[in-house]
Assembly symmetry: D3
Homo-oligomer: 120 residues x 6
């Protein structure tokens, strides 16, 4: 049954973040697959879109430009949020975490939107 | 027209946070009413529920127990989130902002749920 | 000469924070007196008022309500900042550290102003 | 009159940060121009130099190396702070936000000073 | 086997934090018991004392007075750290997270030491 | 005697961080040598390994990738921590400061381990 959680976790990680991690690489990566994605993200009490909005709020407050870009890119790719909604996510973060954190989120948003439209 | 923004802001503040602030108290409170609520929260690009999830993520990362309680209480009262969804918001915050921030969010969640059920 | 730094530190601590700490209580308190106040705050490259503004910015970002109150009260008492200037410090913090941190600074500001006007 | 606020905001942004943003690019950039610079920074209750010191404190606590460099460069260029004063701003941040944040501020300070002296 | 992890987690939680949580209270508390204590803290790659020092560093940086007190009290009670070592933990936090975070850690330390010596 | 503190500080800095700073470069660097290393790190109430664990906790919470790498590299080089212990430090940080901060610590850990094994 634990293996099932691993499988569910890998599928969820791929869906949420857009990349795959093999099982058995390290204790850290196995916890990420099995616990964070197989247990936390997989629970249906909140949708992936809802969890994404919470995570964007946390990442905005932490000023984590790299992870903001990953989550914003995948939010667009998966159809969780439109580019117009992402713009407004940035504005909401700006007012609750301050302008410097907001400009980091803005840069990540621009990169995510550009990545979604490679031919523009 | 700016007065309209003030009126819209006061109504939005009451809806989002559950309390009212009179106009003209101070430059800070007028900015809060007119700009934060009349301009930011009022925009329809994101729903109040969506903005709430982002704000809960920010507040979770900041470890702001007091504001978490305000927003969680009003999320329940307004019907944005159920108690079961709030429990899961706490779990999501815990994994992205760490266990110490998570336990602060948990306490706020318990207070918000208790406030919603005064006769239990 | 190290004793002179201790004496200078104690006087500076009293001036900046409004309270006195005896020498020899602990390694921590001696470092606070000798190094933080006798060495850092005592240097004339920046005025106490300038240092206070920086510290208010740091404390605002940290959301440290207690220390904000200490520094705002003493800023008023020492004449570094007027109540009107403090109101604007709160607004500046709000926009760079976000609204939740701003409301913490606002509460500290109200307490500091009230403490300065005991008979009102 | 709102247009006046936009114009005042653009001039203030140029003065404070050293670059210009056209009106109408996005809701975020218009809020930055009109509200943050046309409303907050433009108020005369605090000087630009005073606001800068607060912002440097916030940015120091956030560890925002990029924005520290922008504000430090412009503080030198505008004459708000001398290089010797900036050195002391770094020391003040170091003691209130900790050594790791202080070293980030130090690097930003070195870059700002170097940018001011292109021929050295 | 999962039950074993739960049992191991409860014993570890009691040992590390000094209190017990029953199984089955909530998804959050079960994750805390099974994953955080049964999986993370239980691993022998680092001793409880080593993990405690890391956690004290994290809590110091977060300025989490309440959890600092819990961990400092239990560090004394369990014999992980002496009162003299705790004093030095506070000094180390002060220099890496700044004086305001340091004074929060100092207060927690005083409470923890006082709780350990009820008759003094 | 103060010169002794400087000398002790330089030796300690070299031992803890792996690089040397000449005396007299700036007020900031002299404070770092004399106070942070000659006074704080030199005290025998805690070992260098213990202080390192606290600092890794603080840096993990701050998300300071650059300083994490410095301290992790030197922790390996000095023999304070093995690669296996560092892996577990990352897991502990992850659960107390959240997954985004954990992944920053993980990247720093990989770089530190790679730097220690140049021929692998």
């Amino acid at each position: 049954m634990s293996e099932t959680k691993m499988e569910r976790g890998r599928a969820m990680l791929k869906d949420v973040c857009g990349f795959d991690i093999p099982v058995g690489m390290s204790r850290f990566s196995d916890m990420t697959i099995e616990h964070l994605f197989g247990e936390v993200w997989s629970d249906e009490a909140l949708s992936v879109r809802d969890r994404r909005l919470i995570v964007l709020g946390v990442l905005g407050a932490l000023g984590d430009a790299e992870n903001l870009e990953v989550h914003m890119t995948q939010a667009l790719g998966r159809g969780d949020l439109t580019a117009a909604e992402l713009d407004e996510v940035v504005i909401q973060i700006t007012h609750y975490a301050g302008w410097p954190r907001g400009t980091k989120a803005l840069t990540a948003c621009h990169k995510a939107v550009a990545a979604e439209q490679p031919n523009d």
